[in-house]
Symmetry: C2
Subunit: 201 residues, 2 copies
């Protein structure tokens, strides 16, 4: 049985996005600062990472069977035009199915409109078929933590200070929360890959 | 000539204090989770760190010639009763000298009431006599960053999520800001010691 994890690029001051949706160029610089070319499953989306970061990402994705994302990210990317760059099934937690999305019914996307993160994670576990489930940071990750659904928190810690923006996690119902680790660390170029285990005390 | 640095215990979600001044037991757990006894300069204040964290801290403090702190921390600790636990001169940035403080004039404490962080850091450099100057996180560190006074940002990254509280840095006037590093990493028990260099582009 796979685990449920979240993993995000995070600034030194704890943000996954800067003020007014800025900072992504800096947060994802490590996707582009190497010479290993990675053509993702999404046409035209190519990254050039260092070998060490590529290995770190491959290790994560090799075990990942599905993702859970929110409606906002789905809309911003237009549902990745029906195929997630990492080529895994996607569960979208939303209030309503986007009925005019052209890939509805053909893409490996599931829309969960009831039951909150519990239902979304359950659907993703089924889609993952024994693999890990990755959940998006921010609101969904926070809700998963509060619901006791999260097994691991990963971060790609990036040497930038954003001074504000969207924090990795929001207010916790059952916080503060102790984690174990880092249970895994890889130092890349302009990024430190870290994973922590959520305690089940 | 020494450098000017800040270094704090920081939660995975970027806070140096939890909501309503909670979380310190968790943020400073690594001060107490080992068997190397360190009797600080402040009577009665003893820490028990692991060997590896003790070495990391000694490396930092060996080079530190003075600290800059705000009035709030000074008041909370009652000015450490006139002697900082790390036994270095302290510069207090404040609106007014605490005239009823019993150690006034005898303790190695300087009160800077004008000229802001620039004046405080200048006073600390003088007191440090060639050593490094450590500035407190939060408001002062943010002001130092904005004024171009900070050379290094250090963090003791602690595996806890606080869900809110006091961020390491506040809004940056000249943010976002790129740093270099980590230029130094030590993995301790329940803490990852990291240092980053502030770029001077």
């Amino acid at each position: 049985m796979g685990i449920v994890y979240t993993e995000m690029s995070v600034s030194l001051d704890g943000y996954i996005a800067g003020p007014d949706e800025t900072g992504f160029d800096r947060l994802f610089r490590w996707y582009e600062n190497g010479d290993v070319v990675w053509e993702t499953a999404m046409p035209g989306l190519t990254f050039r990472m260092t070998e060490v970061s590529m290995r770190a990402m491959r290790a994560r994705l090799a075990d990942t069977g599905a993702f859970v994302v929110g409606r906002r990210l789905f809309d911003i990317t237009n549902g990745w035009e029906g195929r997630h760059p990492f080529d895994v099934p996607v569960v979208v937690l939303t209030h309503a199915v986007p009925k005019d999305w052209p890939h509805l019914g053909t893409a490996p996307f599931t829309f969960v409109t009831e039951g909150g993160v519990e239902a979304a994670v359950a659907a993703a576990k089924e889609a993952a078929n024994g693999g890990d489930v990755g959940v998006n940071g921010g609101t969904i990750a926070t809700q998963c933590l509060d619901a006791g659904l999260l097994d691991e928190v990963g971060m790609a810690l990036v040497p930038v200070l954003l001074g504000g923006g969207v924090p990795y996690f929001g207010p916790l119902e059952n916080g503060p929360l102790d984690l174990e680790g880092p249970i895994w660390t890889v130092q890349g170029k302009d990024v430190t890959h870290l994973r922590y285990r959520v305690r089940r005390d």
